[in-house]
């Protein structure tokens, strides 16, 4: 098996990536001045800017993709089971 596809190495890299993200977050917390102030976030608070405005619909859409495609993950939450024959 190719070393790049070794499940142990992939899992280990994921854990290290998570630890690095957390470490970066912890070390920087409270020291960065927000460059977009809370009162400047009116546009970002608009419902059309929500990354997942309708969870019931996105869960279904992701289920359709995952049943028809070989790829999976990094789409947000989706249910188990298949229904894919």
């Amino acid at each position: 098996m190719h070393i790049m596809r070794d499940p142990y190495i992939i899992r280990r890299r994921a854990v290290i990536a998570g630890a690095l993200l957390t470490a970066m977050a912890l070390s920087g917390c409270g020291h960065i001045e927000p460059w977009v102030k809370p009162y400047e976030r009116a546009a970002l608070a608009d419902p059309i800017m929500s990354m997942d405005p309708n969870p019931v619909s996105s869960a279904y859409t992701h289920h359709v993709y995952e049943a028809r495609e070989g790829a999976r993950g990094a789409l947000g939450g989706a249910g188990g089971g298949c229904g894919c024959n």
Partner: protein
């Protein structure tokens, strides 16, 4: 055992670290109190799947949010795989999920459990997630872990019983870039172990003794699979109140599949109660190492697959959507509501999966390549309360 202890120690360290973050006056928020009732319908490639989905979320004591989801797939299948090796069938899948989210300062912690049942497949999934707002709430970091236990059986075979163990590790980062731009990145690693193929599907191989030149044998997949997916999404607010969004995803796994996904969309609210949206999505993948449309002989290699989902193919889809807001100033206990309609047209084109249905007389391996289109409808009503 050492690896197991080390992995859990790392996870525990992450949790303790995040729990210990100082609480501030800016707080994260719980999901809104909301109920959604959806009807979904998928038609394509000889398969029809429809059913309802009900999702309800409610906050308690300003610190907790509880969610429940009931979802049904009613499947009627005469797909190309079924037509060539089996008989059309009907079945039903029901999924029930329960979740609770706890808010503490700038952090949320969530626990979810779901159970999915078909007559030949049961899936149980437990998930834990946390998210933390950072840097004046410009950044949200989220981490998640899921564990799944599946039981696989086979219609007409009382002795067949297999299990699958699933684990998913997720990390996400959402970042406000400017007053009009937000971006998010996601990483998910999934490992599966156990029975991973479909007990009803077959591969075909050249058999000159057979009338049509080929025969079938049961497919056989490896018993482990690990995949990694990384995504990047962006959403941009246009000055006349509209939004552009787009995203890409790259995927690779230990079966040799790699894929790319790209999507771009536009949302346009009118001055009245309507919102219209459209998006296009591209998906392309390479085949699994052990996939072939036609093997040279029986048991040609140790792992065998002819699932079209593991072949080389591309797909494109177009979405059209419309939403209508009602009770915008509230009505009794309802704060607001909306009715939504989405239509997706999907096209699948396979590069190495051939259409062998009704192809008698055609030499094996020269049949036309398979392709199909699907229509997907969603209509749902949402009420905020």
């Amino acid at each position: 055992m050492k690896d197991f202890v080390e992995k859990w120690a790392q996870c525990l360290a992450l949790l303790v670290g995040l729990w210990a973050l100082p609480q501030s006056t800016y707080a994260a928020v719980l999901p809104e109190d909301r109920a959604d009732l959806l009807y979904h319908r998928y038609e394509g490639g000889g398969v029809k799947i429809d059913g309802p989905s009900l999702l309800v979320r409610k906050k308690f004591a300003e610190k907790y949010s509880v969610s429940a989801n009931y979802y049904v797939d009613m499947v009627s299948s005469a797909s190309i795989d079924v037509l060539t090796t089996a008989s059309p069938y009907k079945e039903e899948r029901k999924q029930e999920s329960l979740g609770v989210t706890y808010l503490r300062g700038k952090s949320t912690y969530s626990l979810d459990y779901s159970n999915s049942k078909e007559n030949d497949y049961t899936a149980n999934t437990a998930s834990f997630g946390l998210s933390q707002d950072l840097f004046g709430d410009l950044t949200t970091l989220s981490l998640g872990f899921s564990r799944g236990w599946d039981e696989v059986s086979k219609r007409g075979d009382a002795v067949f019983a297999e299990k699958t163990d699933r684990r998913s590790y997720r990390a996400g980062l959402s970042q406000i870039i400017t007053k009009s731009l937000i971006m998010s990145a996601g990483l998910e690693v999934i490992t599966d172990e156990g029975f991973l193929n479909n007990p009803y599907r077959s591969v075909r191989y050249i058999d000159l003794a057979s009338g049509n030149g080929f025969s079938y044998q049961a497919e056989l997949y490896p018993r482990t699979r690990t995949s990694s997916a990384a995504s990047l999404d962006a959403r941009y607010y246009l000055p006349y109140r509209a939004a552009l969004h787009g995203g890409v995803r790259y995927f690779t796994d230990t079966w040799g599949i790699t894929s790319e996904t790209g999507e771009i969309g536009y949302i346009h609210p009118t001055k009245g109660a309507w919102t219209f949206e459209t998006s296009v999505r591209y998906y392309g993948q390479t085949k699994a190492d052990f996939y072939s449309d036609l093997f040279p002989r029986r048991t040609f290699q140790n792992f065998l697959a002819r699932d079209k989902e593991l072949s080389t193919f591309t797909s494109g889809s177009l979405r059209l959507g419309a939403s209508y807001d009602f009770a915008r100033s509230g009505w009794r206990w309802v704060k607001k509501g909306s009715v939504n309609f989405y239509y997706d047209r999907m096209e699948f084109d396979y590069d190495d999966f051939r259409n062998i249905y009704n192809q008698s007389g055609t030499p094996p391996g020269t049949e036309p390549l398979y392709s199909f289109g699907a229509n997907v409808f969603q209509i749902f009503m949402s009420v905020w309360f």
